[in-house]
């Protein structure tokens, strides 16, 4: 369990990092917190010819609340910083809550917010949360910048629209409308373990207590985090309630997910669990929206 030989670059500025990844092309890989990359290199599953380490670039680690209610998070911001940030807690309580499900404190002290999103693990929380909130992602390359919405970012397991010479630089979380409640429900085998299934949802009520808008993301039941379409089709304009949530659960389980069987769980169980967690997550999100 030792990696193959690789070159190592430690740029000290974003510009230098972009130059380096442009030069290396496919043989280079960005090293963020290393909590996913290093183990897969040790297993020789990942065999990069060179690492470009972003850990010496302080300008990539920040949490910046914007005037419009959004918050910009630099890609190298450690998970634990996000977890304990007062402004995040105030504006996006769900994010602070979800962070505690990601592994253990030691890993959150190293793992980065942007790294997790760029890694695009279908069982991971942060890609799903970015999708739930349709975060704006700032991608940089030498001499260029583009913005991609989370909805357009994930292509498959561990696959995104990032080009080899591109870097995820910033994640912008847009403000939530008034009367929005959110919820995260997960079942994992061990505390801090990956989700067998998880469901994140954010629901907004109108003044009459009907569902104005709702988003829901399903984790660990497909190649990417899955943004449900059924949930808004069924709930928008309706009074939320158990029966409607069960209808959503049924529609999601039948049509929107594609869970697999592995050593931990059968597809059948994951489908069942999705139903259970959809109802629980929607129930909590709408309860919180009504507060």
């Amino acid at each position: 369990m030792k990696p193959i030989p690789f070159e190592y670059y430690a740029p000290s500025s974003v510009a230098e990092a972009l130059d380096t990844i442009a030069e290396l092309g496919y043989s280079g890989k960005i090293l963020a917190g290393g909590q996913s990359l290093i183990p897969s290199m040790n297993f020789r599953v990942a065999r990069p010819g060179a690492l470009v380490d972003l850990n010496n670039i302080p300008e990539l680690a920040y949490i910046r609340p914007n005037g419009d209610g959004s918050v910009a998070i630099g890609t190298m911001t450690r998970d634990s910083k996000v977890e304990h940030d007062a402004e995040i807690k105030r504006r996006f309580p769900l994010i602070a809550e979800v962070m505690t499900y990601i592994a253990h404190p030691q890993i959150r002290n190293r793992g980065t917010f942007g790294g997790a999103i760029a890694h695009a693990d279908p069982a991971a929380q942060l890609p799903a949360i970015s999708l739930l909130m349709n975060a704006d992602l700032k991608l940089l390359k030498k001499g260029g910048e583009r913005w991609v919405q989370a909805e357009d970012f994930f292509l498959g397991p561990f696959m995104t629209v990032l080009e080899p010479d591109e870097m995820l630089a910033e994640v912008v979380l847009k403000p939530l409308p008034a009367r929005t409640g959110s919820s995260y429900k997960q079942v994992s085998r061990q505390r801090g373990g990956y989700a067998q299934v998880a469901v994140a949802s954010a629901a907004t009520l109108d003044e009459a207590g009907r569902c104005k808008q709702v988003r829901m993301v399903l984790i660990s039941v497909g190649d990417t985090p899955i943004l449900s379409k059924e949930v808004s089709r069924i709930l928008v304009g309706q009074k939320p309630g158990q029966e409607a949530f069960e209808a959503v659960a049924e529609a999601v389980a039948k049509g929107e997910i594609d869970p697999g069987t592995d050593v931990h769980a059968t597809a059948d169980y994951r489908r069942h669990l999705t139903r259970v967690l959809v109802v629980r997550s929607l129930t909590e999100a709408f309860q919180r929206a009504a507060l």
Partner: protein
Amino acid sequence: MSGKVFGQSVTRNEDPYLLTGKAEFIDDIELPGMLHAAFLRSDYAHARIKSIDVSQALKRPGVVAVYTAADFGDYWRPGPLQVPPPTAIKGSVFHARTLVPIAKDKVRFSGEPLALIIAESRYIAEDAFDDIIVEMEPLDAVVDLEKALEPGAPLVHEDLESNLAAHVVQERGNYEEAAAKADYVIKRRISVDRCAGAAMENRGLLVDWNDRTREMTIWASTQAPIPLRNSIAARLGLFESQVRVITPYIGGGFGPKIMTSQADDVLLPIVAMWLNRPIKWIEDRRENFLATTSERDQLHYAEIAVTKDGIILGVKDMFYHNTGAYDPYGMTVPLNTQTHTVSNYNVPNFKTEVKMVFSNTMVVTPVRGAGRPYGVYVMERLIDYAACELGMDPVEIRRRNLIRSDQYPLPTGIIGQDFVEGVLDSGDYPEELRKAVELIGYEKFIKEEQPRLRAEGKHKGIGVVCFTEGTSVGPYEGARVTVGANGKVNVSTGISTQGQGHFTVYAQIAAEELGVDVRDVNVTTGDTGHFHWGAGTFASRGTGVAGSAIHLAASKVRQKAIKLGSKLLGVPEDQVELCDGKVCVAGDHSRFISLGEMAMKANPTRGTFEQGAEPGLEAVAYFGPPYGSTGAGALAMIVDVDPGSMDVKIEKLAIVHDCGTLVNPMLVEGQILGGLSMGIGNAFYEQLKYDENGQLLTASFMDYLLPQATDMPDEVLLGHVERPSPLNELGMKGVGEAGAIPTPACFAQAVENALADCKLQIAETPLSPSRLFELVKKSTEK
């Protein structure tokens, strides 16, 4: 029984070294000119080797040598049988097929070594994997235990007629007659799957051959330093005194490190001689999962015969035991299963039959619990099925059948891992059960809390089981106790330490006897240069057996000190006492000689010497029990089952345990808690899962789920019952495996209780939410 330090929760002597990072582990050791080894391992579980071409690997810069079986000539031969066959049991059949040092002609499990690469670094050695071309012809794999014995099944060892490795039948009374008289006979098929030892530190070996002195020094992360030294010396044609095995600090053992005939043990010493350079091999986690030993894939067809009052008339258990591709460790594990199936209860008629089976999976040797958990699992499940059939309370049925405290010593009629009839030496099982029931609040939970919770839609359940733990088995251990000129005491014993706290417990035993500060006792374990007789660390015997030897040696030193003290102080022996590092006159401590000075005086360098005397304040002693002492206990737990997700949370756990005299209650507690976490793993998390091709599907901690500190129950209550063993002077029994043994059985009962409305009957372990979901679905469909 407790004294000034004996019996006290003394903090650990070793902790300052461990906590400040000063403790030296094997991978901390760097020697000049040291090379690194890596094994290329087979992906196939069962295949014929056509050819192995290492020529490209040899060309890689930094690769020093590459070896396959062919390169070892006559040195290549199957390893020793580490544990003798069960010839003491009449009619037993045992086919020894010991581990081969490196695969030759054919591979028998996925992970078996094919080639050994020696390089300037482990990185380079692993790079060379890609250079080696292996041609293999895959064969059908044997994985399923029942299919393995069907005619026409592929053969793991083609020189045998079948995959049957061993067959042992033991019976006391006559089960069939008992069953004929019973009101109920309940039969079930019960399966238990494999688990890993999963020590934090993997195995490792560092071999240094000195061509000038013709001596070999080996640092090893082993539980059996002396057997390892003996087998290496024998194979190399050296005297034992030419080979020194040292165990540095070791990060856990849990069983698999008892092995002394793995590829590294056998091959690295000779290669170090050939190359005349030190070689280090540190097992990585993947190798540990694939190719170190693991435990306990068993399939039981068990039945219990009871009267309508719940009195057990007999138990019959026919089981298959998977030994993996080879059986170097004899039958220790299945014999433990046999001895632990009925040991808590009066079962007048008991028949137990094991068919041990070869398969294309990694070798099975003891892992903490070592067969015991599954004897207990089968028995406790049978009792629960019977209780369910009779509509009887699970605690009540146990109460009616437990062995009483006045029945000891109680011969069991069943021969165990030490090849003598098991005898229960002491204990009080009814008291343990009573205390556990009280600690968990059984009555209140059943009568008040559970009905209230049910009404709220909550599914909480309770379980209570009993268990025994055969411990402190023979043959023997020894120790040397020496008072130094510095006035401090040195203790050395042959067994090695993997973190249990031996440096403290042994110090307590010696300090109590010699009246010195426990911090002034230096303990050396597992260094054959210091002490070179003994067997090893297994079966919860470190304190009971080696501790007893230390006690005996320390007593001898005490006698010596008193004798010499009486002479030097001019008072009769009965007026001499040892305290605070001094030998003094009883009643007048101002008249004394310090132990350091005594040590000097006991070793005169001029003048005359008393005939027959032995120099120094030093003594050696050995201790071997006639049979092992039996610890026991009762475990109760309350679980909360989420009926939606089928996730289970253990809310509260109460364990009452008897390990005889508690030498250090804090360390006993640590052993029990550690064992419980392993038991919780075996119940709900850990599973080494093979597919039908013999591929291990759980070869990393991503897939092999080890419960972590954060997965332990919120509340664990401990209770002790102290019934000293008559088998050693200090009354000690072991406790190392206790927590691991009863947990799966208790968990199953508690989950069934929580899901009582589902009519669920659990007959397997480990479980998972997904598996529980399937089981509930099946039982409600019925």
